[in-house]
C-alpha cells in the first residue's frame, strides 16, 4: 500500500533512513543524476514507492532556485482563443513536470502589471505574456527578472526577450489584397472599439497598407464597433446605409463577422452577392455558419506547444533558434467572399 500524501508527511530523510543511504543520494536518484550505482538506485526507488514518498516541490523550488512553474497571462480566460494557447502550453509542460500558473488581465495594462508583479514573487521559471504592448514598468519587471520571457500571438522587432507568434499585420494585409484580387471595389474594415491591443492595431495597419498598395491605391474606410455579435450586426447596418457603395466588410474578429453574417440573414441580404464578409481568428463556428466564413486561421494550440518548447529550451540553458519565431497563419477563403464569377 502506498502512503497517503499529507502535508508534512513523509520526507526525503525518511526514505534515506529506510533505504540506508544519505539524503543526498535519494535526491540524486530523484533528479536523475548519473552518479548513482544501479543497485542503490533500485533500492532507493523501491523504498520510495514502498513508502509512497512524494517530493515536496515547494521545498525543492526554494533549494534549487527552480520551481518548475511557468507564469502565463492572457486577456480573458473564458471562451477565448487565448485559452487555446494555454491548452497547448499545459499539454507540453505537463509532460516535463512543469506547471502553469494563470492570470487574466482583462485587456488592461495596469492589471497585467499587477499580475506580473504578483507572479514574479512566486519565482516562476519563465513567463508568457499575450501580445507585444505592455506598460514600461511591466517590461522593466520582466527584464529584471532574468527569466525567459515570451510574448505571443503577434510579432514585433522590439521584444522584451523572445516573441512567438504570427504577423497580424501581414495576415490582414494579405486578406485585404485577396479581396481586392477577387474584384471587390469598396472594402471597409471594422476594427474594435474597446480593448484595443497590438493584434487589433496591427490588423488595422495591415488593412491600411493594402489600401495603400501602389498597384491598387484606394481610400481606407474604417469603423469601430464593440467586439461582439451585436457589434458586428451594427457594422452591417452601417455599411448598408453608407453612401460609399461598400461591397465587402473585413471584420477584425470572427465574433463580429459572424454577428454581421447573421444580421445579413435577418435582413435578407445575400452574402457574398450583395455584401461580402471576412473575419479573423477562424473560430470553430466560422466553417459552419451559412455561408461559411472567410477568415484567417492560426493554430493556437500549436502555438502554445511551440511556446512551451521554446520556454523549456531556454530554461535548460539552450539558446532559442531566434528571438522572433513566426508560427505563420493561413487565409481560409470560404463562401462568404466568393464572387459569383469565381464560383
Amino acid at each position: 500500500m502506498s502512503q497517503e500524501i499529507v502535508k508534512g508527511a513523509i520526507r526525503i530523510a525518511d526514505v534515506a533512513r529506510h533505504a540506508k543511504v544519505g539524503a543526498g543520494t535519494v535526491s540524486r536518484v530523484l533528479n536523475g543524476s548519473q552518479n548513482v550505482a544501479p543497485e542503490t538506485r533500485d533500492r532507493v526507488l523501491a523504498t520510495i514507492s514502498k513508502l509512497g514518498y512524494v517530493p515536496n516541490l515547494v521545498a525543492r523550488g526554494l533549494a534549487a532556485n527552480r520551481t518548475g512553474v511557468i507564469a502565463a497571462i492572457i486577456p480573458v480566460i473564458g471562451y477565448s482563443q487565448h485559452s487555446e494557447v494555454i491548452q497547448g502550453m499545459t499539454e507540453v509542460l505537463h509532460e516535463h513536470g512543469a506547471t502553469v500558473m494563470i492570470g487574466s488581465s482583462g485587456y488592461s495594462q495596469d492589471m497585467e502589471e499587477k499580475i506580473v508583479a504578483a507572479f514574479l514573487a512566486r519565482r516562476p521559471d519563465a513567463f508568457y505574456v499575450t501580445g507585444t504592448w505592455h506598460s514600461q514598468k511591466t517590461r522593466k519587471l520582466l527584464s529584471a527578472s532574468s527569466i525567459p520571457v515570451i510574448e505571443g500571438s503577434n510579432l514585433t522587432d522590439d521584444t522584451i526577450d523572445t516573441v512567438v507568434g504570427y504577423s497580424n499585420f501581414a495576415a490582414a494585409r494579405e486578406l485585404t489584397l485577396m479581396l481586392v484580387l477577387r474584384g471587390y471595389q469598396r472594402i471597409a474594415h471594422v476594427t474594435v472599439k474597446r480593448d484595443l491591443n497590438d493584434r487589433i492595431g496591427d490588423r488595422l495597419t495591415g488593412y491600411r497598407a493594402a489600401c495603400n498598395d501602389r498597384e491598387n491605391t484606394r481610400p481606407a474606410l474604417v469603423i469601430e464597433r464593440e467586439n461582439s455579435f451585436t457589434g458586428g450586426a451594427d457594422a452591417v447596418a452601417w455599411a448598408l446605409e453608407s453612401s460609399d457603395a461598400i461591397d465587402a466588410l473585413f471584420f477584425a474578429t470572427d465574433v463580429m463577422a459572424v454577428g454581421g453574417l447573421l444580421e445579413c440573414q435577418r435582413r435578407g441580404i445575400e452574402v457574398p452577392n450583395q455584401l461580402a464578409i471576412a473575419g479573423f481568428d477562424d473560430l470553430p463556428i466560422a466553417s459552419s455558419v451559412i455561408p461559411t466564413l472567410t477568415t484567417v486561421h492560426v493554430d493556437r494550440v500549436g502555438m502554445g506547444r511551440k511556446i512551451a518548447d521554446v520556454l523549456l529550451q531556454r530554461i535548460n540553458g539552450e539558446p532559442p533558434p531566434s528571438n522572433r519565431i513566426d508560427v505563420g497563419f493561413q487565409i481560409r477563403e470560404r463562401d462568404s467572399t466568393l464572387k459569383p464569377s469565381t464560383r
Copy 2:
C-alpha cells in the same frame, strides 16, 4: 527608485538590517500581525518600499505550510465553458493574493489522476476539480491531502468534500417538461458519444425522468453523436429520416444544437415549425443564431467566483455553509422551440 526583482536579490534580512529591526518584526508587518508598534511598522514599510523588497512566496510557502496556490483541473482549456469557471476563480483569488495552477484532463480520468498527483506535490492550499466522476485513486489522493476540495459544475450527494454547481439532471428534466408543455409530441434527446461525463450523463437521466413523468409517460428516444457542429447536423439528418415523427430535438450541448440549427437551415427545414431545437449551456452564439436557441443558462463565471469564495473560506478555517452548494440554472426559452400557437 525601486530595486529590481531578481532571483536571490533582496531578502527579509536586508530589510531588517536597513530598518534596524529583527527579521521577525519585518515578517510580522508583512503578515499583518497586530503586535507591532505603529512607528516601527511605518519604518519597516518605508524601508520595504525604499528597497523595493518583494517577499519570496516560495520560501514563505515552505515555512508557513501555506502556498497561496489553488489547483484547478478542467477537461479542456480552449474555447470551453469550463474556462469561464477559471476566469471567475482567478478574478476573486487574485484579489486575495492567491494564484491558480491549471491543468486539463482531456475528459480522461487517468489523466486527471496524474495531474492531481503532480499538483499535490506542489502543495496547493485547495483543489478544484470539474465534475463528480473521478477514479477511486483520485478520490483517495484528494481526501488524503487534507486540503479543501471542491467538485464543480454538477451536484451530487456523494462528494469528496464539497460540491458547488447546479443540477444537470433537474435542468434537463425541466427543459424536457417545458417542451412537453408546449405541445411537442415526440422529443428525442441527442447525447454525447465520446467524452462521457457526469454532466452529460445527468442530462440524459433528466430527459429520461421527464419521459417517465407519471402524467406524461412517453417512450424515450435517444441517440449519440459527436459533440461538435457536425455531430449536431448528423442528428438532424437522423431525425428527419426517422419513422418516429420527431418534432423536437433536445441536444445535450449547444455546440450540437447550433450544428443542428444550421443543418436545418441548409436543408430548408423550418425551426421550430417543422422541427424544434433546444440545447444546453447557453453559449454566446445561442442568443444570436437564427432562430435564437432555447437552452439552459448557467452563470459560470459567477460559479467560479463562488467556488473561490468557498475555497478561501475553507482555507481560513471557516466551515462552509454546506457541502452542497447549488448555484442554480435558468431555462432560456427562445425562438427555436416557440410553437406557432404560443407566438
